[in-house]
């Protein structure tokens, strides 16, 4: 029913009012009061941005000229990652047509909002990376899906002061069908791996890079130079349809900061491998939930309140009277506690920090 309906209505530009009211207005206009929808708008550059609170509603209204193009999608069809992703400048033309066409809108393919949806992968740090590179985060959930890719040695051509030079590099050699890496569509065979969780792989052997990836497998962030540099374009059009949002590679300020995106996650879905070691006490005394680790408290301030309680939940202590109880429930627990993409907000102390490498996550 979200096929192609267009409504045009006016708002007081200077007194837009509250988001709640706007939301109700939208539902009313479209006669969809019983549906949960996601509201977005196209900003001056044509990027699709969400409207879900007073602030961004105000921003949307104030930046609209002459029209505010509002996109309404069913909640469970929204692809959050469409918001401010690194769609590229090719969209200029589409933008033009879009403007003429006013409020033409296509439905999105079946993608839902983050909180009913488990992230598989994301593209991050678009604002700080060269266009030719892509930083991909893979979220591993439980044991259901293997990461599913292989890497190999190869040579890559670099531009140096002495001209083009062949240097050894690490490349993706194979994708396992049905694996996580393949299902994201963000990685492809022959993509060159440049970094693993912020550490450059240059000068490292295949085995070293393998070990680094496996060590980071719970929250793997790899920066690749895609073999097919036009892949980006194909991907963004596929996700958003031909009418999609315009993109502008120069408009880096449009990309949402990654942490912002991450804050949209419901904390329940986020588990961390950090500090997530399971301790089973075999003692007889009653156990208490341990105090927060001193090191995490500082980083916790960066996470919203609900994740705090979540963290407490993760520092789980089981009381086993015998201490030799079967491991069955532990394994269940393990699989449920497997991954937590949010952990990347916690700067691993003594790890990255010590190396002096800065990762903006």
């Amino acid at each position: 029913q979200f096929g192609a309906e267009f409504r045009r209505f006016s708002l007081d530009r200077y007194k837009p009012g509250k988001f709640e009211d706007f939301y109700k207005l939208i539902l009313h206009i479209h006669h969809i009061a019983n549906l949960e929808v996601m509201i977005g708008y196209a900003d001056v550059h044509g990027d699709l941005l969400p409207i879900n609170n007073d602030d961004n509603f105000f921003k949307a209204v104030s930046s609209a000229h002459p029209l505010l193009r509002v996109f309404i999608q069913k909640q469970d069809e929204v692809d959050y990652s469409n918001f401010g992703t690194n769609t590229l400048s090719r969209k200029k033309k589409a933008l033009v047509t879009l403007r003429n066409d006013n409020l033409r809108r296509r439905p999105h393919i079946n993608i839902s909002m983050p909180h009913d949806f488990r992230p598989v992968s994301s593209i991050i740090d678009v604002d700080i990376l060269p266009e030719t590179h892509r930083r991909v985060r893979l979220y591993r959930h439980g044991c259901e899906k293997p990461l599913g890719f292989y890497i190999r040695d190869g040579t890559s051509v670099r531009v140096t002061p002495h001209g083009l030079e062949k240097v050894p590099g690490i490349f993706i050699s194979r994708m396992v069908p049905g694996g996580l890496a393949e299902s994201t569509g963000l990685l492809a065979v022959n993509d060159e791996v440049l970094e693993v969780n912020g550490i450059e792989v240059a000068g490292k052997t295949l085995d070293q890079v393998t070990d680094m990836m496996i060590a980071n497998s719970h929250n793997l962030i790899i920066t690749v130079k895609p073999a097919n540099q036009r892949n980006n374009i194909i991907r963004s059009s596929r996700m958003s349809g031909s009418s999609g949002q315009s993109t502008d590679s120069t408009a880096s300020h449009h990309s949402l900061p990654t942490s912002h995106v991450l804050q949209n996650f419901h904390p329940d879905e986020m588990e961390s491998d950090e500090e997530a070691d399971i301790v089973i006490e075999g003692g007889l005394e009653p156990q208490h939930i341990p105090k927060l680790h001193s090191l995490t408290s500082s980083s916790l301030s960066r996470i919203n309140g609900s994740s705090l309680s979540h963290r407490l939940q993760r520092d789980l202590v089981l009381n086993n009277n015998s201490g030799r109880e079967s491991n069955g429930n532990i394994h269940k627990l393990l699989s449920s506690l497997k991954t937590d993409p949010r952990h990347s907000l916690v700067i691993p102390r003594g790890g990255i920090e010590e190396d002096g490498t800065v990762i903006t996550l």
Binding site: R140, P146, L147, G148, F149, Y150, I151, R152, D153, G154, S173, R174, A181, N197, I199, V201, K204, L206, D207, Q208, T210, D211, M212, M213, I214, A215, N216, S217, H218, D273, A276, D277, I278, V279, I280, G282, G283, E285, P290, H293, S294, L295, D315, G323, R324, I330, H331, L334, L337, I347, P348, R349, G350, G351, I352, E353, E354, D355, G356, V358
Partner: protein, 999 residues
């Protein structure tokens, strides 16, 4: 903003790091891998060994060692010392000559390469024209005579290596006065030997390969004598007075020739085939040594009857009616005789024979009746049976040291008492700071105890565990029981014996408590032996227990090797470490971890199936814990043993191939042949490389899961007295870490000493920690309230260590292959960590706590972690904050066996195998550095004798010291040493009394 602060920018810490850490590879212990040449200077009393990888090593008195490496890494074919000089010349298989000099530099001598030279013929001449086959370093010290394949002898000046063309001795010049019937084109091809006349430096003896020998007058450039040998020549040797010489031949014969002024073409005096009449193998080298009593020593290599003893590597010594053919287990590279080098002495009077075999050095005392072997103070064959593990114990109490030496000396009664005959140079290194033991476990079930305190790695004592078990090989089956009239009179010498009767006997883990003298040894078939030191022979029954690590796990079948059968009834043990308890794990998989607590009298052991705790006081199994994951089928079937035996059989077949190839290659072989072989090898390598490139290597990226194989493999065991349950009471505990990233902690209740025999030891699982990253746990350590690692058992009880701080809270350090993590105790929660693999892509292979002292001040020292990674890097990581301090590349990352063999000491040193037979010693500390420091003085020729005597005396002193007589040296040793000694005495008495009381 803390994360922007880089470590290591604190200038105070940086300075301190410079005072604490320093990386040096100091000395290579053991026997050079693939030796290829031997040289000796009677003047310097130094021996030189060249290897196939182009290394050259000089050895003199114990502690006097030099090493050089040819850039080309080519095989060293010949070594010749320049007479009366600190110089030597090496010939490589690429036909290049290298001049090495021992030069004094800031108080010590150093071996340096001075010049290199390749002989070039006239343009267009074949390579054989200049292919050097024989080298004579003339006593004038000014020239070298180089015999070639073409038969020409070139003369080069030293040290410039300038060819003196006008002095070349061409084969044409030699042939001029040859009798017609003997003269043919080929008689003067290939110079086989060049020997200077012992009395007249103007005459040299030239032996050609076809058997033709001439005496050449250098002054007049002409032949003075012809000797028409009929057999292919192998070598020549002058008699001391120059009146006779002896030639040895390819057919196993040797011939004596007279040299007198009246006969220019003498007939041979005698021609003997010592092991005839059937065809014999070549005699490749021969000595003729005169003695006062008139009976000469004739010593020759080879000559065995071709059919029945052609495969023996022998050297025969004939003295009057005595004759022995020393039979070596590996190919003889070369040998020399040490005899009186005094020019004025009338006789040779040989004292010792030094034989370099491919796998060991054997020295025979020729002065003592029966010609016993001399125990070498260095160049020990570490690999006489393949090394399977090693264990280092620092700072051994004197009493234990003496007891081990005394046990060892009882094993060495068959050795000669002769002082080490190669005694050149002076060791000026300071005395080692402490007594260190290196224990090596071997494939044949033996443990060897090495004195690793100083530069010379010296065997103190050998322990065999074989006696406890019933094996196929009967120990009484002596191969050497040859009758009196056996011919040839073979006598097996040396210790190299790579063939193990039963691989299950192999030693995998060793733990020695230096305070109590308890030793635990564990092996390939799940056997764990606990031993104690007994100064007397004893006969007793070894208590035997079985530990079923599978417990109630059903439906598994072990497909690996069977457990070892034990001997019933009392077993006789020689003085030394005698086993009193044997625990056999079931299934009998390789023991992968071992810990001994001598104070609690407990031993813990782990395999790929689980771990157990045994009370060796009450001789009772306390508990077992199965660590298997239900899906881990592989571990049950015992593929570890399969993999191992496959590896072993491969290795053995390679060894056989190598051996046959090497021995089939004639010494110095046809040069064309070798280069062909090399070419073929190179081609093969290239093809293999190309093949590798065609099939690209790829690596799967997959997270570790609980279902991976060998997750239950117990990697580490650790005893600690700490706060496991609550922060008010500490208790003994046992910690175990597995391959799957699990740590188990057991609370132990050990009865107090007075009721130790009455109440059982109890254990209860207190904690189980599953590391989320699931990497194998390789180390567990508890830090006390001051963040100091807990002391070893009995260390505190004997005032050798501050007692641990039990007031402050303890911390648990878990080292996995990927991360270092510190947890709080008793509540296990993560405190801080270092993610090594995520950052650098390297994995922890070995980790140890090491104490580093400052080289600037005596009162500062700190504990750090010394870590070896799979890339062969050594990293030092601070405790307790886990900051990387420094990183040194140490071992090539391809050298997997080197990395696997690495063992760290408690004071920042370490050892790793650079070949099956050699340990490289390295030091990470500025303070504890054991490296050779020695001087070789150029002795004045006139006072030759005096100097030698002096160095001999010094050597004797040193030797006596190494045997445990510290009387004279005690005053010299450092403050620290004295302190240790004082403590040791007291401590050992104490320990002794407690031990005796306990029995």
């Amino acid at each position: 903003m803390r994360r922007f602060l880089r470590p290591g920018h604190d200038p105070v810490r940086e300075r301190l790091k410079r005072d604490l850490f320093q990386f040096n590879k100091t000395v290579e212990h053991g026997f050079p891998h693939q030796p290829s040449a031997l040289g000796y200077s009677p003047f310097l009393r130094l021996m030189a060994i060249g290897t196939r990888s182009g290394a050259i090593k000089l050895y003199g008195a114990p502690g006097v060692e030099f090493m050089g490496l040819h850039e080309e890494n080519n095989t060293v074919m010949q070594i010749h010392f320049i007479p009366d000089q600190c110089q030597l010349v090496t010939l490589l298989d690429d036909n290049s000559l290298h001049l090495w000099t021992l030069k004094q530099h800031s108080g010590t001598s150093e071996l340096r390469e001075e010049h290199r030279f390749t002989l070039k013929g006239p343009p267009g001449s074949p390579p054989s024209a200049t292919q050097i086959t024989a080298v004579l370093a003339h006593s004038s010290r000014e020239v070298l005579y180089l015999g070639t394949e073409s038969g020409n002898i070139f003369v080069v000046e030293l040290p410039s290596f300038r060819v003196l063309e006008d002095r070349t001795i061409t084969s044409e010049a030699v042939q001029q006065r040859l009798p017609e019937d003997y003269c043919n084109r080929r008689s003067c091809e290939l110079v086989e030997a060049l020997r200077e006349h012992p009395k007249n430096p103007d005459q040299i003896l030239i032996g050609y390969s076809r058997g033709f020998i001439v005496l050449w007058d250098l002054q007049n450039n002409k032949v003075t004598h012809h000797f028409l040998g009929s057999q292919q020549l192998e070598n020549l040797y002058w008699q001391r007075d120059g009146s006779k010489f002896i030639s040895c031949h390819y057919d196993g014969s040797y011939t004596q020739w007279p040299v007198s002024s009246d006969n220019r073409q003498p007939e041979p005096l005698e021609n003997i085939v010592p092991y005839g009449p059937f065809p014999c193998k070549a005699i490749s080298k021969i000595y003729w040594q005169t003695t006062k009593n008139g009976l000469p020593y004739i010593i020759f290599q080879g000559g065995m009857p071709r059919a029945s003893y052609g495969d023996r590597h022998s050297i025969s010594v004939v003295h009057g009616s005595q004759q022995t053919a020393f039979d070596f287990t590996s190919r003889v590279i070369d040998f020399f005789i040490i005899f009186s080098s005094e020019p004025t002495a009338e006789f040779d009077d040989p004292s010792a024979m030094v034989v370099l075999a491919e796998e060991e050095l054997v020295v025979i005392d020729l002065k003592t009746a029966g010609w016993p072997a001399v125990h070498p103070p260095y160049l020990a064959s570490l690999h006489c049976s393949a090394i399977t593990c090693s264990h280092h114990v620092s700072n051994i109490p004197l009493k234990l040291w003496e007891r081990i030496i005394s046990a060892g000396s009882k094993q060495n009664i068959h050795y000669s008492n002769m002082p080490w005959p190669i005694d050149g140079g002076t060791n000026i290194a300071p005395d080692p700071p402490q007594r260190d033991l290196l224990l090596t476990g071997h494939e044949d079930g033996t443990v060897r105890f090495w004195d690793a305190s100083g530069v010379c790695l010296h065997l103190l004592y050998k322990l065999s565990t074989v006696r406890v078990f019933l094996t196929d090989a009967d120990p009484n089956d002596n191969m050497n029981t040859l009758g009196e009239d056996e011919w040839p009179p073979l006598r097996k010498v040396g210790t190299f014996d790579p063939y193990s009767d039963d691989p299950r006997l192999g030693i995998q883990k060793i733990y020695l408590c230096k305070y109590s003298g308890y030793l635990a040894v564990a092996g390939t078939a799940g056997q764990v032996l606990v031993m104690e030191l007994n100064d007397e022979d004893a006969e007793h029954v070894v208590d035997h227990a079985e530990a079923d690590l599978l417990q109630d796990q059903e439906g598994y079948r072990w497909k690996g090797h069977e457990k070892l059968k034990t001997r019933d009834g009392p077993v006789r043990f020689e003085a030394g470490f005698q086993p009193f308890v044997l625990v056999q794990c079931q299934p009998p998989a390789v023991v992968t971890s071992l810990a001994l607590h001598s104070e609690w009298k407990l031993v813990a052991f782990g395999t790929s199936h689980g771990f157990g705790l045994f009370d060796h006081q009450q001789k009772r199994l306390v508990f077992v814990k199965c660590t298997l994951h239900p899906s881990d089928q592989l571990a049950l079937e015992g593929p570890l043993s399969r993999v191992k035996s496959l590896k072993k059989s491969l290795r053995q077949s390679f060894r056989r191939i190598r051996r046959s190839r090497v021995s089939s290659r004639k010494r110095r072989g046809g040069s064309g042949n070798t280069s062909e072989v090399q070419e073929a090898n190179a081609k093969f390598d290239q093809e293999a490389l190309q093949e590798m490139e065609l099939a690209p290597v790829q690596r799967k990226i997959e997270a570790r899961s609980a279902e991976d194989s060998f997750t239950g493999f117990v990697r580490t065991l650790y005893f600690a007295d700490t706060f496991l349950r609550d922060s008010s009471r500490h208790c003994p505990s046992l910690w175990a870490g597995t391959n799957g990233g699990t740590v188990y902690a057991f609370c132990l209740r050990v009865p107090p000493a007075e009721r130790r025999m009455d109440e059982p030891v109890r254990a209860e699982q207190a904690k189980e920690i599953q590391l989320m990253h699931r990497a194998p746990v390789v180390g567990i350590l508890v830090l006390d309230g001051r963040s100091t690692p807990l002391p070893e058992p009995l260390e505190v009880a004997h005032d050798l260590s501050k007692s641990p701080d039990m007031q402050g809270s303890h911390q648990l350090l878990v080292v996995s292959e990927e991360q270092f993590k510190v947890f709080t105790l008793p509540k296990v929660s993560s405190k801080l960590k270092l993610k090594l693999t995520a950052l650098e892509g390297c994995r922890v292979r070995k980790v140890t706590v090491a104490n580093f002292g400052s080289c600037k001040t005596d009162d500062y020292s700190e504990n750090d972690l010394a870590v070896l990674t799979n890339l062969g890097d050594i990293q030092i990581i601070s405790l307790p904050f886990l900051k990387l301090q420094i990183r040194y590349p140490c071992i090539r990352k391809e050298d997997v066996s080197g990395i696997a063999s690495c063992v760290f000491t408690k004071y920042g040193q370490g050892f790793y195998l650079i070949s099956p037979s050699e340990f490289e010693r390295f030091s990470l500390s500025t303070k504890w550095l054991v490296e050779p420091r020695c001087i070789v003085d150029l002795p004045e020729v006139t006072s030759n004798n005096h100097v030698h005597n002096k160095s001999g005396m010094e050597n004797a002193v040193r030797k006596s010291r190494s045997l445990g007589d510290y009387g004279e040296d005690e005053s010299k040793s450092g403050r620290l040493m004295e302190h240790a000694l004082l403590n040791d005495e007291k401590v050992l008495k104490e320990i002794q009394s407690t031990l005796e009381g306990g029995r």
